[in-house]
Symmetry: C2
Subunit: 604 residues, 2 copies
């Protein structure tokens, strides 16, 4: 275990110890580490609010100053039950250990369903003592509490949480903390959080009228407002232009399909719980598609006869929907839908797999080179774990799996990608390469993906006739350069802090007449810019200049072109960039040149 993990885990114990001091009747749940920190769940005997956090921190610091150790103890399960007789949640965990050999709620639920209780023959419970506080715990602590810096942790918030994360259980009180090895790291983290609160895409999306959530429409179903739709449409058009140049053909498929399709593809088995499904009035089981590949496979069957028809590259900004628990929903990044995928399926023979894979990477590089966030991204190559216990998860022929994994690894290494490798993380139909990014809170997320499919074509009976007139299954590359347009817009808003490049700005330049008498000139300038395909608007002089400029800055309009007496006389504008940057006086021709050049670069 890494040292920082030990620190965080130790702090969870100290938090529980502190809580028992202010509320001796508190019942203890569990206290794991999480990204950047830890939490502990309690059933408290009295209500608390965040004002108590300072007191708890101070009690934790007292414990640290005493330089306590974490003394391991092993008790027979029966003895442990006696020890925790007043802690019902701990008792439940010990009982689970006895019955299922695990305290993992997921494993227990699976066991309960399959009625297989695989007893690991656990007879002892592991406990740790810190001063007068004893917890049921697998271990992983600092040796002495003095290893924890007094100024490098902080309790951050209190929230409700279901016991074991299951909404059928009772609601407990969860206290969160963050912790690092040094104060500097903590300060940086807290600063990042503060930034994230201003510049996370939900806040920006609202402030800039990008999207809205409507209570009547429902959770997880964002509506794109004109400015957001503009961005989405620009991105869709950009990708279409690129993909057509790369030889993709666009198709368009319905959002519904009957059961037969997903039975054939295997998605019903592997994806069932995330798919919206219902029976239509004629009794057919209908699904809302969670991905477009099975639809595209039907088009493959229609269009491909021989190897001469390969590679076939089908593309679609396909809209899919997936059920997510309401608790998991988050802005544009975790939605029920629409998820508009920048989706494509490339059908290829084995001989040309590496070439096609390389072409896909070329397109990735082209796009992410243009958009200025490639330095914040890295790739994650997910391979099957041939030795692991989840081996049965990977369908099909092991030799083929090994060949395909090797094929794409060779290309990825050859292209010198910034690469991490995840063993055992392949999809059910093949190895994959994901593009990763951190969101503004520092959490790792997948932005987009390239997946090799060596299983489904055979299962669905896709084939082509090779040179010898023999039936062969194609390999499918599933790829989404942009991932989903909605998610991408979320990340891009955060990454740019809402300062969108010109080509994604619905209004590129706002002509700002100082007074009523400059309005005519402003309208003329706007018309001239519009005629040059520059998206210009006029700010009506119905409020003071300062008020209007403040408003336009909040709206993050890229350029303000101010026109007063002098500018009107000179045939010019006083140009301001974002963040009050004075760019000086521009004659109209020079302004047009500057803006048009900037639009074309698709960069700024």
């Amino acid at each position: 275990m890494e040292n920082i993990e030990k620190i965080r885990h130790s702090l969870a114990h100290l938090l529980a110890k502190a809580v028992l001091i202010i509320d001796p009747k508190a019942q203890l749940g569990v206290g794991p580490t999480i990204e950047s920190g830890f939490y502990y769940d309690f059933r408290l005997s009295k209500k608390i609010d965040e004002s108590v956090l300072a007191k708890l921190e101070s009690l934790m610091r007292d414990a640290i100053n005493q330089n306590l150790g974490f003394k391991p103890k092993r008790l027979k399960l029966a003895e442990a039950k006696k020890f925790f007789k007043n802690q019902p949640f701990k008792l439940e965990l010990i009982n689970d250990l006895a019955k299922y050999g695990t305290t993992s709620w997921q494993e227990i639920q699976t066991s309960a369903k399959t009625k297989k209780t695989k007893k690991n023959k656990i007879s002892d419970a592991s406990l740790y003592q810190t001063g007068d506080f004893v917890d049921l715990c697998r271990g992983g602590h600092v040796k002495k509490t003095k290893e924890i810096r007094l100024d490098a942790f902080k309790l951050t918030k209190i929230a409700g949480a279901y016991w074991r994360g299951d909404e059928k259980n009772q609601m407990l009180t969860r206290i969160y903390g963050v912790a690092f090895e040094t104060k500097k790291e903590l300060d940086e983290y807290l600063e990042r959080q503060k930034t994230a609160e201003i510049y996370n895409h939900r806040v920006l999306g609202d402030q800039l009228d990008i999207f809205m959530i409507s209570e009547k429409v429902g959770s997880g179903l964002p509506l794109f407002l004109p400015r957001g739709e503009f961005i989405k449409n620009q991105l869709i058009n950009l990708m279409r232009e690129k993909e057509e140049r790369y030889g993709y053909q666009y198709v368009s498929t319905p959002v519904l399909a009957e059961s037969a399709l997903y039975e054939a593809s295997g998605h019903k088995k592997y994806f069932g719980n995330e798919m919206y499904r219902f029976n239509d009035p004629e009794g057919n089981e209908v699904f809302i598609k969670p991905m477009s590949c099975p639809h595209h496979h039907m088009i493959y069957q229609r269009l491909v006869k021989s190897y001469r028809d390969l590679p076939l590259r089908l593309a679609e900004p396909g809209t899919v929907y997936r059920f997510e628990r309401s608790g998991a929903l988050y802005g544009l990044m975790r939605v029920r839908g629409p998820i508009t995928q920048n989706d494509s399926h490339i059908y290829v023979d084995r001989e040309r797999l590496a070439d096609e894979f390389r072409n896909v990477l070329k397109l990735f590089n082209e796009f992410y080179g243009q958009i200025k966030i490639s330095d914040k991204c890295w790739y994650r190559l997910s391979l099957p774990d041939f030795k692991g216990k989840n081996k049965e998860k990977f369908g099909g022929d092991e030799k083929l799996w090994r060949w395909a994994a090797n094929e794409i690894k060779k290309v990825a290494v050859g292209e010198k990608l910034n690469l991490t490798i995840g063993i055992g993380e392949a999809s059910f139909y093949g190895p994959k390469l994901d593009l990763q990014i951190r969101n503004i809170f520092g959490k790792e997320e997948t932005l987009s993906t390239i997946q090799i499919d060596i299983v489904v074509p055979k299962r669905m009976g896709l084939f082509y006739l090779d040179k010898n007139n023999k039936k062969v299954e194609p390999i499918v590359i599933h790829r989404a350069v942009i991932g989903s347009y909605e998610r991408f817009i979320g990340f891009f808003l955060e990454s740019t802090r809402g300062d969108l490049p010109l080509w994604l700005s619905e209004t590129q330049i706002m002509i700002v007449p100082i007074g009523e008498k400059h309005l005519n000139r402003a309208k003329k300038v706007a018309a001239e810019l519009l005629a040059k395909n520059i998206r210009a608007k006029v700010s009506l002089p119905n409020e003071s200049l300062n008020k209007r400029i403040l408003f336009l800055e909040k709206e993050k309009i890229p350029y303000l072109a101010i026109i007063g007496d002098r500018e009107e006389a000179n045939g010019s504008v006083a140009l301001r960039g974002r963040h009050r940057k004075d760019l000086g006086e521009f004659k109209l021709g020079r302004l047009i040149d500057k803006v048009k050049k900037e639009i074309l670069t698709k960069m700024n």
Copy 2:
């Protein structure tokens, strides 16, 4: 009743009479008139096929030649039951007359559901005798059979049909006939049918790889192949370009919404049976949207505060889904989805309603003037029937209804539209103006619509602040210039017989090298055309020239540019238009000019 209706109805009797001659045990269903003809349903005692139709026609002509009359009779219901004691379907109808006062299956089902049996106190049955044949019938016949021209009718086909159209009932044999007043009309009709069989959009859609239906995906869920998607995308882009010029703002909304939205809008009440609905795993009732207006209304609430924000014109190529019985599905014209609407909602105050309505008509004229089918279309103005019995259907204030109906009628008349008027056909929320067209079979269909909504804004609490700071509900214009893109493509394919204009042709010109040695030159020519944004492809010389040309003609490629020795030497091509039209030799520059000019006109 029109004379032709009388002829058709009389022929239905003569058909039943003829069937009883060849199958005296046949049980008679019903025999109504339909568009262009009539049918009669039978339960036959022996199997028949279409070879029997000539015999039946001949028996019908015999009856006509006898110049029979249609003698009316009235019997007490009890007597009528005795008379039809061997005809169980007629008995069922008589019993329904006794119980429900009607034989309409729909009215009976409604009565059965609501348990209201509104007895019209019917005591007699109406029968008509023709020679030895007697039928239960409300009347409407020719006086004497000699009024029917022997050569102006034809029995066309035999099909299965559920008794009373209900799949829970038994399957009967339906014999169809067509009939006109003159042989000329019949011949024209049959010719049109023959054409329609070749050029209906389902046949063309398949032949030209426009769309496919996949059994696994399901009925009524067409998949657009690359060539079809190309057409749809071109149309969407064209409309976007136009609509942005007309001041529309694009938005993008999910295909799902929870129950609250459609309860608020009233659609749950009025549209419930056509909407796909289900419960999600968290127990929310979710709908797949059958239209986008309620979503747009939520955006209105977000964007509009005062009259200064009006008119707000929201547009979306919104994809909607509607449940249709599988029997009603038809190609792209009657689908479950996707129905990609060229949808827009214009929110306006009363003062500006007429202006906005006129602007919408202007956009209609602009589009349908460009597309060459406007001469085949006409408008249908649907107004409420203030005196009619369906008055309760029209929600809201009668004065407002009258005002709105008058307002759009004035504009429609002022614009000199080719207009028919339908009283009592308004939608539940206001009067509307539909654009009508005949499909290739001659059937009237609605292509697109403009609807005034004076009911839903109030119901949903939409408002703006007027000049006096008072809350006022806006009026909404729902309009779809193109209707749904899928339906439009269906009509347009039929209307052009698949000869799509250049701008909708995925391949505009095919370069056809006569032999292998001309391939390089062909590729060069294609590259030069591509560089000028002309979509050119090369036909590889892997088969004989004639075979390739035949294939390309079937594919309806607009231009073939053939290159042999002479053309290669001259730097030219031998150009052919559709239908083997020889256009002569074209130097490259002249070719480019010709094609580019044609693309720009968006006409041919």
